[in-house]
């Protein structure tokens, strides 16, 4: 906990002058805002731990204001607002599983699965004969996300996307 916000340590460098006081220069990500800041502490200083846990959940539905998630084992349900869901909204399809980070049992952020399979709802028809996909073209997916896909991929097809790089991986054959 730093300045009343839960934070994760990204990098921690131990700095110690030969005969002097040891410091830790720490890069910290604010889990609420996602911003990374640098702070310096005296070695041995302690901060309040944040009650933050990652829980695997199933995405249920969007009621317009909140998105709803469920822990499959316990059927416990959580609702998360747009701020907590953030960019994950582009990758959430009903029934998909994802990771919800809880802070004091309230959703703080949502991380989609590394790979998701989504249907293309809109894309230009590809040029016939071109199967190599040299340049690619933009395609809109059912969740609203836009990714570049090879020219041979068509509307209605299901594709696999890497959510970390936001890149097309392959077509998914039924």
């Amino acid at each position: 906990m730093l300045d009343n916000d839960p934070c994760a340590i990204v990098e921690n460098e131990f700095v110690k002058p030969g005969k002097g006081q040891a410091f830790n220069r720490v890069k910290i990500r604010n889990l609420k805002t996602g911003r990374v800041i640098e702070r310096t502490f005296k070695s041995g200083e302690s901060l309040e731990g944040a009650d933050v846990v990652d829980v695997e959940m199933q995405y249920l539905y969007n009621d317009g204001q909140f998105r709803h998630f469920m822990v499959p084992e316990t059927f416990e349900q959580y609702q998360a607002d747009e701020k907590a869901v953030g960019e994950a909204a582009y990758w959430l399809k009903d029934q998909d599983s994802c990771t919800v980070t809880l802070w004091n049992d309230v959703p703080l952020s949502v991380t989609p699965a590394n790979f998701v399979e989504l249907t293309i709802t809109e894309t230009d028809p590809g040029v016939r004969g071109d199967t190599s996909g040299g340049g690619g073209k933009p395609a809109t997916l059912e969740t609203g996300a836009v990714v570049r896909v090879p020219l041979f991929v068509q509307i209605g097809e299901v594709i696999k996307v890497d959510t970390r790089t936001k890149e097309y991986v392959s077509r998914v054959k039924d």
């Binding site: 921690n12 460098e13 131990f14 700095v15 110690k16 002058p17 030969g18 005969k19 002097g20 006081q21 040891a22 410091f23 220069r25 702070r39 310096t40 502490f41 005296k42 070695s43 041995g44």
Partner: protein
């Protein structure tokens, strides 16, 4: 079977270390400096509040004694010098509890040497000779050696006077240099401010592909160095840097047993205030000082860091076969 039985560093690293030790031994034997060995375990330990030591239990039935793993071989080596050993050097392990990071492993290797009759400036010349010798195939040995007075290089990078503490000026510098935590961390303690500002703002600029020697440290910064005979605000202490990495520390050694005892007592009080483990004073070292330590200058260099520089390694773990996590 654990996969982590394997050494973390390459075989070339093992060779580089062996070559370094050979070169050091050759350098000192040519100069008539005697290689010695002193115990890693001892009954007394340094009082420096900045160093945490390892405590061990020694069973010699029916007694159980507390022994310490040395944080440096300084006291034992000075006992040898006091007993007329002449100039000596040693390559040995030293232990500092809680120190772990890119440049720290709690168990590490030191080169420490004492030169009887040397002044600080003669010691600095020898450090330069040693580094040039060890880096003979690398650009570092060809570039001019930088020598700075602490107060000059500190003023150059911070605009502050290192010898006179002004809380306002120091805070203003911290604000301007994006160190907002500094006032909270350092309060009104000059010593802490110097540690923080020097390591954050000065050190990264020292010894760009060259050897850099910084000398004349403010008096609040050293427990075993002698005060400068012309300016009591500074001590005869030198620090060695290459590419912003601190390699070692040297003193024109304090030989006055009364002043030494006073500094120990001050440090023990500081440790009590900080609720640190109580040290056991090394009475044999104090007795050696009382019997008369010849005028001498001494230097310690961290060999793991030196190897990092020699082999362009980013992390101390890259030059250690078995860093603490795999030891």
């Amino acid at each position: 079977m654990l996969e982590s039985w394997r050494p973390l560093c390459s075989t070339e690293q093992l060779r580089a270390r062996a070559k370094l030790y050979q070169a050091i031994r050759l350098f000192f034997s040519k100069r008539g400096v005697l290689e010695v060995e002193t115990p890693l375990l001892s009954h007394g330990i340094g009082t420096d509040p900045q160093l945490d030591f390892f405590t061990t239990a020694y069973y010699s039935a029916p007694r159980r004694q507390t022994l310490f793993l040395q944080t440096s071989p300084e006291f034992a080596m000075k006992r040898l010098v006091a007993a007329s050993s002449g100039s000596i050097f040693q390559i040995c392990k030293a232990f500092r509890n809680g120190e772990s990071g890119r440049f720290h492993n709690p168990e590490f290797t030191l080169l420490e040497w004492y030169r009887v009759g040397f002044t600080l400036s003669e010691l600095m010349d020898e450090i330069a000779d040693l580094i040039v010798f060890l880096f003979q195939d690398q650009p570092i040995s060809g570039n001019p050696i930088q020598r700075y007075r602490y107060q000059d290089i500190f003023a150059c990078h911070t605009g502050l006077n290192a010898l006179e503490f002004s809380y306002q000026d120091y805070c203003a510098c911290a604000r301007a240099q994006q160190l907002p935590d500094a006032p909270r961390l350092c309060g009104h303690e000059h010593r802490l401010w110097l540690d923080l500002l020097f390591s954050q703002l000065v050190q990264p600029h020292l010894g760009n592909n060259a050897l850099c020697l910084v000398f004349g440290y403010p008096a609040c910064q050293s427990s075993l160095a002698r005060k400068n005979q012309y300016d009591s605000r500074i001590t005869d202490r030198v620090e060695v840097f290459i590419n912003g990495v601190e390699l070692g520390n040297g003193y024109y050694e304090l030989t006055d047993v009364h002043e030494q005892q006073q500094r120990f007592e001050q440090e023990i009080m500081l440790r009590q205030e900080n609720q640190q483990t109580a040290p056991v004073l090394d009475q044999r070292f104090l007795s050696a000082l009382a019997s008369g330590l010849p005028d001498c200058a001494g230097m310690a260099i961290g060999l793991d860091r030196l190897l990092m520089l020699l082999t362009n390694s980013k992390h101390i773990n890259d030059v250690l076969a078995f860093p603490i996590a795999n030891a």
